[in-house]
Symmetry: C2
Subunit: 107 residues, 2 copies
């Protein structure tokens, strides 16, 4: 096949994997890092900064956006890509809960 068998896992397990997928590509990590550094909402030069084509960046932004990690003004002249910090913190908490739960060991 090739498709992940999502139905055999718990929602929590699938959720963790979905969140991880957002960060599983360096371009998306770089985009998030870059956006977070911009203080003045001048975020329209992500393309120049990252070094990938505009459609590719747009595609990655879509993935990030679908995960709920973006907010801001996406239209018109006063464009602004910002990180949805609330959602971002949720992600961090899910990850940390996973990490903390998984530390027990046997040898």
């Amino acid at each position: 096949m090739g498709a992940s068998k999502l139905q055999i896992h718990s929602k929590r397990t699938n959720d963790i994997a979905l969140i991880a997928k957002v960060f599983a590509h360096p371009a998306r990590v770089a985009i998030l890092e870059y956006i977070s550094k911009q203080k003045d909402c001048i975020c329209s030069d992500i393309v120049d900064e990252i070094g990938l084509s505009q459609p590719t960046i747009s595609q990655h932004l879509q993935v990030i956006n679908k995960a709920g990690l973006l907010k801001g003004n996406f239209k018109g002249k006063s464009l602004c890509y910002c990180i949805n910090i609330k959602r971002f913190q949720e992600f961090q908490e899910v990850f940390n809960s996973f990490f903390n739960k998984t530390k027990f060991n046997c040898c």
Copy 2:
């Protein structure tokens, strides 16, 4: 193309993506969760537990292992898949450092 352009990103950025990839499949999340629950090193029934074929599980274990997240006795009767907690904590720290660095915002 289809291959990620790794050379345009910093090592740190690529590292974060590589770490995230380990957790970007629910089967691997489930495997890690399952292993961490086993107290007696009897870890040979991951296949039954997860619901994927033995080769598929083996493949996922290889991904987890290549990331340095496994330790234990992989051969013979006294099999034992254990989580390399030290490495696991490293992962958690890298993630948290990324999350914490990326929280600044503009709107």
